[in-house]
């Protein structure tokens, strides 16, 4: 038994499905036929000959093609590429129809449609009008696409929505305000049977219906659709509230005699006012919401739209999504790097602040990596693409931030549970309130029933509750991303605000992670540059990190190493070589002393500062000592002080021997040192701190420290945008500074505080508002809350939540404050 798939065309309904089954059933070997209308595909189970199946399908009028035959042709045949915006495509089947229509156009070599963004990319010599005609003939719409229109179109759509809401607000308030004013100024809101006013109220009732049907239409449509799905949402509450007020008023107008005289009051103004006010609230919310996602929009805008690619010696600008890995690209001054890559040629400085938060431009030359979205300030660079599209660091960051913005810390989950059952519960409360007024309340009972139920429905605001956490997270995570702090999950935000101990890996976290020459001690009569040149000549053949530090230092001082002979590297001792007939040795003290060289210089000052001393000897006499150390980052000390100010115990963890660990610890001012810890034991050390009851953060470079980062309550990967780091740590700092850790913790605390304010506000609002609306204050005040006031309060409550979350945008990091 086997299955085969065949593409079909033109099958659109169950009738087609039947026809296809009838056509295929008689084909020899066919056991079962499944038709997927969405995918325009037939799956045949059994052992039929594929040619027979195709013939049967063709005969039935659904021109079938074997799947392989429809595979797009090679992109090599491209001579011109065009993009079209497609309209009217609603399902996957449309994609195939449109692609086929385009492919059948003379001159087209390849056509592919992206269903996700409804664009089609067409290669070949066909002109755009022919393509548009072909798509239109197939029953869809098409227009040439200009990339830069995307953002503007989105904004235009938002604007349109905003203007529509305002129009609806004016409609509602235009009728509601005069009516309410009439009532407040002593006008008669009662219906008196047989009087002319009854006819006037009937007219006003119909006008109100018109407002409900236009300005309030979306609430009613939404409520009905949700109801059919066994769901209830905010629309349900508004539709029920305003609908009940209108129906009651209409009943008063049409059959006043059926109600007690005191209950013949109309509430058309409430329906119209509520619709107007809630539209106003939504309009304000649209405005405020636009700002909450500003950070992601800014990140998205960082990406370059086009890239200048060098192919076959010619340079051309192409859309950035057509760049392939290993393409050579040119970036000129003032342009953005289009994709991630490695510099092949040229020198320049790149502003990477958008990714790392580091304000200083970074020098780039051949061999250095460059990241998409960073800005080229100085010269021209030629670079080779290493990651394109979704694989660039920028795209991954955007994806990560978007994902984190949708996650929720535990604190928000209670609100989630409440939100899920909120609306039906409010409906129950409204009925209970109405029954209570009917059975226990004073006259006019019917009126009180209506007002209390309507007001309960209108005042309850599920939005404020639902928005409380996500809005703050969205702004907080976005704000952090702007400063090069990537928060991977909502949980990390909450835990970060509760930390009491922070473990810092020494190498690469407190220090640069790269040994460098720090000091040269000369024997009498010797010059620093001479010693450095000699040392570099000895080390130029070595790959040891200490050797590289010496060679780099010599290069910085523009010293050229001489060619040494008889080079020998002695593991754990040092190197020796001959130069101009003399033997030179560079290595540790013990080795030189064992070779009979008297070490007359004192190296204690170097070890005290955490440097490794390298002794240089010419034949049997010592020339000097070179101190090589992993330099402490400039701002480590200050950042550690900040962490301590935030009430944290700062622990340094390192594989170094106790003495040099202590030396570094003293310089940067940590509280506790864990020295001589093997990389694989770091996680255990973190665990032992946790067992003491501490809430521990671990900061490391994310590569060797992955297990420790994962063990910690919150892992911070520092100074790197590598996959390993991002995957293993809850929070990734794109920049290298430890200030990022302090900033991340400050941002987390601010966000969690903001969430708490929002949740508190939303819970208090609802738990006070609903009972007041139900009338618990009636014994004190002698009146019920007006549904109009409930409408105003409700429309303001979600705006308040969004605006409070927006306050987080004002958060300033240490660097901003300076």
């Amino acid at each position: 038994m086997q299955t085969q798939r065949f593409d079909i065309q033109g099958a659109s309904c169950q009738g087609c499905v039947r026809k296809i089954r009838q056509a295929l059933d008689p084909v020899a070997g066919v056991d079962d036929v499944q038709v997927d209308l969405d995918a325009q595909q037939v799956t045949v189970t059994g052992t039929p000959d594929s040619a027979d199946v195709q013939a049967a399908l063709a005969k039935a009028g659904y021109a079938a093609e074997d799947k392989q035959q429809t595979a797009p042709s090679s992109p090599a045949s491209t001579d011109q590429e065009q993009q079209l915006a497609i309209t009217g495509a609603t399902c996957a089947a449309c994609v195939r129809t449109i692609e086929n229509a385009l492919r059948n156009t003379p001159g087209v070599t390849q056509a592919q449609m992206n269903f996700a963004d409804r664009t089609a990319r067409v290669s070949g010599s066909a002109d755009s009008q022919a393509l548009i005609d072909a798509v239109e003939k197939a029953g869809y719409g098409a227009s040439p696409l200009d990339d830069s229109d995307d953002g503007n179109a989105r904004e235009e759509q938002e604007q349109q929505h905003y203007r529509r809401l305002l129009r609806h607000m004016w409609l509602g308030l235009g009728l509601g305000v005069p009516l309410m004013a009439w009532g407040l100024l002593g006008g008669d809101m009662m219906v008196r049977p047989g009087e002319a006013s009854q006819w006037v109220w009937l007219g006003i009732g119909l006008l109100t219906l018109a407002v409900l049907a236009t300005a309030g239409r979306h609430f009613f449509v939404g409520a009905w659709k949700a109801f059919r799905n066994h769901n209830a949402n905010m629309d349900t509450l508004i539709a029920l509230g305003t609908g009940a007020a209108w129906l009651y008023s209409m009943a008063v107008v049409l059959i006043p005699a059926a109600l007690p005289e005191a209950a013949r009051h109309v509430y058309f103004e409430a329906s119209a006012m509520i619709i107007g006010l809630i539209n106003l609230g939504q309009a304000l919310e649209v405005r405020a919401r636009g700002k909450t996602s500003a950070a992601v929009k800014r990140l998205l805008d960082l990406g370059a739209k086009t890239a200048r690619v060098v192919r076959d010696g010619k340079e051309q600008d192409i859309p950035v999504d057509q760049v392939q890995t290993d393409d050579i690209l040119r970036v000129r001054p003032g342009e953005k790097i289009a994709v991630d890559g490695i510099v092949e040629e040229g020198e320049s400085r790149l502003d990477e602040s958008m990714l790392t938060g580091e304000p200083m431009p970074v020098s780039k030359s051949a061999g250095d990596t460059v990241s998409a979205g960073t800005l080229n300030e100085g010269g021209t660079l030629l670079y080779r693409a290493t990651a394109v599209g979704k694989d660039t660091a920028l795209s991954r960051i955007v994806a990560l931030v978007k994902k984190a913005q949708g996650s929720k810390p535990p604190i928000g989950r209670l609100a989630d549970d409440v939100s899920a059952v909120f609306v039906p519960t409010i409906m129950l409360i409204a009925v209970v309130a109405a029954l209570a007024w009917f059975n226990l309340g004073p006259e006019p009972r019917i009126t009180h029933m209506l007002i209390s139920a309507t007001t309960v429905l209108i005042i309850a605001c599920p939005c404020a509750l639902g928005l409380a956490t996500p809005m703050s997270i969205m702004v907080g995570v976005g704000k952090a991303a702007e400063h090069g702090i990537l928060i991977r999950e909502g949980d990390a935000l909450q835990t970060s605000s509760k930390l009491d101990t922070i473990v810092l890996d020494k190498t690469g976290t407190i220090t640069e992670g790269k040994p460098a020459l720090t000091e040269i001690l000369c024997a009498e009569g010797q010059q620093e540059d001479t010693l450095l040149q000699l040392a570099a000549s000895l080390e130029s053949g070595s790959e040891h990190p200490l050797a590289r530090a010496i060679v780099e230092a010599a290069e910085q001082r523009e010293l050229t190493p001489d060619r040494a002979d008889n080079f020998q590297a002695l593991n754990g001792k040092g190197v020796s070589a001959t130069l101009d007939g003399k033997q030179y040795r560079l290595g540790n003290r013990r080795w030189l002393e064992s070779e009979g060289i008297t070490v007359s210089l004192n190296s204690d000052s170097l070890t005290e500062r955490g440097a490794t001393p390298l002794f240089l000897a010419e034949d049997n006499s010592l020339l000097g000592i070179l101190g090589v150390a992993d330099r402490i980052k400039e701002d480590s000390r200050e950042a550690i002080a900040r962490l301590k100010d935030q009430g944290l115990t700062v622990v340094m963890i390192t594989g170094d021997i106790q003495a040099s660990a202590d030396a570094i610890a003293k310089q940067v001012g940590v509280d506790q040192v864990m020295a001589e810890v093997l990389p694989e034991d770091k996680a255990k050390k973190v665990q032992s701190l946790q067992e003491e009851g501490r809430i521990v953060a671990m900061v490391g470079d994310g590569i060797n420290d992955a297990p420790a980062l994962a063990q910690a309550d919150v892992g911070f990967a520092i100074g790197t945008g590598t996959d390993v780091a991002i995957e293993s740590a809850a929070i990734t700092l794109m920049g290298g500074s430890l200030h990022g850790v302090a900033d991340a913790m400050a941002i987390s605390s601010a966000t969690v505080r903001n969430i708490k304010q929002n949740l508190f506000g939303a819970f208090i609002y609802n738990s006070l508002g609903v009972p007041v609306a139900a009338g618990v204050l009636y014994p004190l005040t002698g009146s019920l809350l007006s549904p109009v006031i409930a409408g105003a309060a409700m429309s303001l409550s979600s705006v308040t939540v969004v605006s409070n979350a927006n306050r987080l945008r004002l958060f300033k990091t240490q660097r901003d404050k300076r």
Partner: protein, 120 residues
């Protein structure tokens, strides 16, 4: 009359509980096809709102957001740690990699849009 109104109120309450909670699990669900299923986001509901899928498969969901109000701007899959921003006027594809068997809610941020994904 009093009895009638009280009875009506009680029936209404029973109706609310039954319709929004008890009978929810019997709503019709739509299987997620291999090519992906398009979910229209409009008028406060996801359509289809209940999806069915087999465990161990990668699910592709195409969200077609037609509602411009900010409520609809994000879809969150609870329990799967997946969320996506939806643009209006375009289709946003959400891919779920092998979700384990279980029932997952997918909602907008405020949980006004509500859907269910049943993986079995």
């Amino acid at each position: 009359m009093t009895l009638l109104i009280n009875l009506a109120g009680l029936l209404l309450m029973v109706g609310i509980v039954w319709w929004f909670w008890l009978s929810k699990s019997t709503t019709q669900s739509q299987p997620v096809s291999d090519q992906g299923t398009t979910i229209v986001v409009a008028d406060g509901v996801y359509n289809p709102a209940t999806l069915r899928a087999r465990a161990g498969e990668t699910l592709t969901l195409h969200f077609d957001r037609q509602d411009p109000s900010p409520c609809a701007e994000q879809v969150v899959f609870h329990g799967l740690d997946v969320s996506e921003f939806l643009e209006t006027g375009t289709i946003t594809t959400v891919t779920l990699n092998n979700p384990p068997a279980g029932e997952y809610r997918f909602t907008c941020q405020m949980q006004m849009y509500q859907g269910r994904l049943i993986v079995s």
